[in-house]
């Protein structure tokens, strides 16, 4: 919907005056909304919570929000690349569980912390490679391949732990979950690092341009000599590595490997990406917008918690906010068309 209406608009504008000035068809407000609207929603949400919820703006709580949102945000960062290429990765939640368990298993088998952390990330990337290869080289639908991944990786997580939490009280890399770096919680630092890295990759590398090109027009990308399949594989590897890192952080925080970790996290990650305005049709969006999307979800969860809203109501409100935010987004496109 977004694409069609935009294309129509620009087509008529272009037709109207061979040389259309930039964004001629759109009034200033629409342009501003396009660029900063979602940030405005976040600010509004913060103001609302600051008024309604006691202690929301306290120093500790701000970090709480960021730390609680960091795992979802890291998954969403990888998911953004996948969605930019018109794909989807439903397996990241289960992948997170497997990777977290693997990192704890490595620790209990006597490996140094560095190996545990990198091992967890590598396992995530490897499962991403598997999904990506099936999607790119066998041309299987991403939805089906990663739906399978969601199930078989959850099974793997149960198998590795025999269905029981794998407790490790002396976990060497527990600071990954509960430590502070220069006063900032380590998961938050890692989250910011992931976003900075992926922002750079999308914006300033050859690979990033290829990702946008493939999402925008796969056939044109192929005919421009871009290695579409290999690029897609790399995108799923990145999403898998993000799931791996999120899994390690999760294990570090709870100091155990949990076979039920990350259930339905894939949906929260997709929600954060979509809230940020990245198009499910591919080619349009960015990780910085996903970060804002993830923070909106984090602020909402935390605020509802502080206000002692019962959990059942929290779910209803969160769901409604996601639909509402996307509805506002498409409403603005309706007007333009």
């Amino acid at each position: 919907m977004t694409e069609t209406s935009r294309a129509d608009e620009s087509a008529s504008a272009a037709d109207a005056g061979a040389i259309a000035p930039p964004r001629a068809g759109r009034p200033r407000f629409a342009r501003m909304w396009d660029r900063y609207g979602i940030l405005g929603v976040l600010v509004l949400m913060i103001v609302l919570m600051a008024v309604l919820a006691p202690n929301f703006l306290s120093f500790d709580n701000v970090f709480n929000v960021a730390r609680a949102a960091s795992i979802n945000a890291i998954l969403a960062a990888g998911m953004t690349l996948v969605i930019l290429t018109r794909g989807i990765d439903l397996s990241v939640g289960s992948n997170l569980a497997v990777c977290g368990i693997v990192s704890v298993l490595l620790w209990t088998s006597g490996m140094p912390s560095v190996v545990c952390v990198l091992g967890g990330i590598a396992v995530g990337a490897a499962f991403g490679l598997l999904s990506g290869a099936l999607i790119a080289y066998l041309a299987l639908p991403a939805f089906i391949v990663t739906l399978g991944g969601l199930t078989y990786l959850r099974g793997t997580a149960y198998l590795l732990t025999d269905g029981q939490p794998l407790i490790a009280d002396d976990l060497g890399f527990r600071l990954m979950g509960s430590g502070f770096f220069a006063g900032v919680p380590v998961p938050v630092v890692l989250m910011l690092a992931v976003f900075a890295l992926l922002w750079f990759v999308l914006r300033h590398t050859r690979f990033g341009t290829q990702v946008y090109a493939i999402g925008g027009n796969p056939e044109a990308a192929r005919l421009a000599g871009i290695k579409v399949k290999w690029t897609l594989v790399r995108v799923y590897v990145i999403a898998g590595a993000c799931a791996g890192l999120a899994g390690v952080i999760f294990s570090a925080r709870v100091m155990s490997g949990q076979p039920t970790a990350g259930e339905t996290y894939e949906l929260d990650a997709i929600a954060a990406v979509v809230l940020g305005g990245t198009s499910l049709m591919g080619g349009i969006g960015s990780v910085q917008r996903t970060l804002i999307g993830a923070m909106i979800m984090g602020v909402l969860s935390n605020g509802l918690l502080l206000m002692n809203v019962p959990y059942f109501y929290q779910l209803i409100i969160k769901g409604a906010v996601i639909v509402l935010a996307v509805a506002i987004d498409s409403l603005k496109n309706w007007k333009r068309a």
Binding site: E3, R6, S10, S12, A14, A16, A18, A20, P22, R26
Partner: protein, 503 residues
């Protein structure tokens, strides 16, 4: 006074933010006439159509049907008023049958409320009869040719009692036979008293069909005249506001050594074996009917389809193009026939579109990191040389006119300094001013020693630009014609297989 015209628009203006699309436009359409509307891209034709279709409403001015003022507010309202618009992209469901499509939105019900299949079938036969019949109502729409689908859409419009029928570039995707059939149908609709507004860039069609011709330029009405009073040259002058008698300005090139040599290449199925030589600095035209295999031949050379038989040499070296990137690295560029579907990244900037080829991205990056300075230099060089009209290189390509979009596609390939350039319908849907510029660009490339293959269904263009012409039929090359031998007749004779000397 005589009866008022079927449709009259007077003093109509429409502005979009930053653009005055139409200014004080006058237009009249009578029942029982075919009225051609011509103008360059950007002249305001689309805006006018969208007003009739209920997509846009005029800022000022009046629209009258049968002398009664109307305000067309929504597409449904347009249909109710008897206005039907057949767009370039058809508005039917390809997965349903012809009969289901004809009943779409107003399916008849039986007394118990279920779908009345028998009546859908009966109605379909009757509706198809009114447009000449010959279409199976049970066929799944998507399996029909584009031309047949168009006939179904016209049948639908007729069934909805449309009195004003707007046809927007209806022959753009049709074969010659299909186009002929459409012309007869259009004339029949006129004879039945319909008013037809016919939009086309193709002069022949307009002269074949139109009773009157209206020309728009830059959103202004320039003039309306009976066809008999206008020479094609007058129309062109009205459209562009200047004389374009030297449209092709062809001076023969002096070809150098063989740059691309194909020996018996084929895809192992319907295409080939093909023998083809392109020399440095020459423009070779590739003519033939739609479906003759011209695009497939170019895609074989470019590695977009695998070569199964035969050999390919570039600059004397044997090459194996397994994918487009192999061809690009060997200096081959390919401008595909549909720029929006196969070439452009519409949501990306001019800048990104120009650098985005497998090779281009390598050239502007170090270890995968893009070098902004190198990109700017490269893009500025192309934007200047090709005179792309834009506010800046950061403008989204979707906002450019067709001609400027095509220049961006050309710029992408020129930026890699190709030795061989394959052009597939490079001026389709491009206005005359931009066409002329594109011909100049092609000419300059040949003078710089590039070997150019020009695929074109526009015969005057094929003959005007090429140094020699190859004609394809049924997947192989039927004839090679020198510039002197090549005429519209000889090309068509070989393309259709009527010529005796055809291979």
């Amino acid at each position: 006074m005589s009866t008022p015209p079927l449709l009259r628009m007077s003093g109509v203006s429409k502005a979009f933010p930053g653009v005055q699309a139409l200014t004080d436009v006058e237009f009249e359409l009578h029942a029982g006439e075919i009225h051609a509307l011509m103008g360059e891209n950007g002249a305001g034709k689309s805006t006018l159509i969208k007003m009739l279709a209920g997509v846009h409403t005029p800022d000022v001015g009046t629209v009258e049907l049968d002398g009664r003022p109307v305000s067309i507010t929504t597409p449904q309202h347009a249909v109710d008023l008897g206005i039907a618009v057949i767009h370039q992209e058809l508005n039917l469901a390809p997965n349903l049958t012809v009969a289901q499509n004809l009943a779409l939105g107003r399916e008849p019900r039986t007394r118990v409320g279920t779908l009345d299949r028998k009546r859908i079938q009966r109605d379909a036969v009757a509706k198809l009869d009114r447009v000449g019949g010959g279409i199976d109502p049970d066929a799944v729409l998507g399996t029909l040719s584009v031309g047949m689908q168009q006939v179904v859409e016209i049948a639908r419009a007729v069934a909805q009692n449309a009195r004003v029928l707007v046809l927007d570039e209806p022959t753009a995707a049709l074969s010659e036979t299909e186009a002929q059939r459409l012309f007869s149908l259009v004339e029949e609709m006129r004879d039945q008293g319909m008013g037809l507004l016919y939009i086309s860039h193709r002069m022949e069609e307009v002269y074949r069909l139109a009773d009157r011709i209206t020309v728009f330029r830059d959103g202004h009405w320039v003039g309306t005249s009976p066809r008999a009073e206008l020479e094609p040259q007058d129309i062109v002058t009205r459209m562009v506001g200047r004389d374009l008698s030297d449209l092709y300005a062809h001076e023969p090139h002096t070809p150098g050594e063989a740059m691309l040599e194909a020996e018996g290449i084929g895809d192992g199925a319907g295409i080939g074996p093909l023998d083809l030589t392109l020399r440095a600095g020459e423009i070779v035209g590739l003519g033939g009917l739609i479906g003759a295999g011209r695009t497939e031949a170019a895609q074989l050379i470019f590695g977009a389809e695998r070569i199964r038989t035969g050999r390919l040499r570039i600059g004397g070296q044997a090459v194996d193009h397994r994918s487009p990137i192999d061809a690009i690295r060997n200096g081959v560029g390919y401008v595909p026939e549909s720029r929006k579907e196969q070439a452009l990244f519409l949501e990306m900037s001019i800048r990104d579109n120009v650098v985005t080829t497998g090779l281009g991205l390598d050239q502007v990056s170090d270890f995968g990191v893009l070098r902004s300075g190198r990109i700017s230099q490269r893009v500025a060089a192309q934007v200047d040389a090709l005179r792309v009209r834009c506010s800046s290189a950061l403008q989204r390509v979707a906002e450019l006119s067709g001609g400027n979009q095509q220049k961006v596609v050309l710029g992408r390939w020129l930026a890699i300094a190709p030795r061989v350039l394959l052009l597939d319908e490079p001026t389709r849907g491009v206005d005359i001013g931009a066409k002329q510029e594109i011909y100049r660009i092609i000419d300059r490339l040949a003078r710089d020693g590039v070997a150019v293959l020009l695929i074109s269904s526009d015969l005057p263009e094929l003959l005007g630009v090429s140094d020699r012409v190859l004609v394809m039929r049924n997947g192989s090359i039927a004839a090679e014609l020198s510039r002197e031998e090549a005429t519209e007749e000889t090309v068509m004779l070989h393309a259709t297989g009527v010529a005796a000397g055809s291979r």
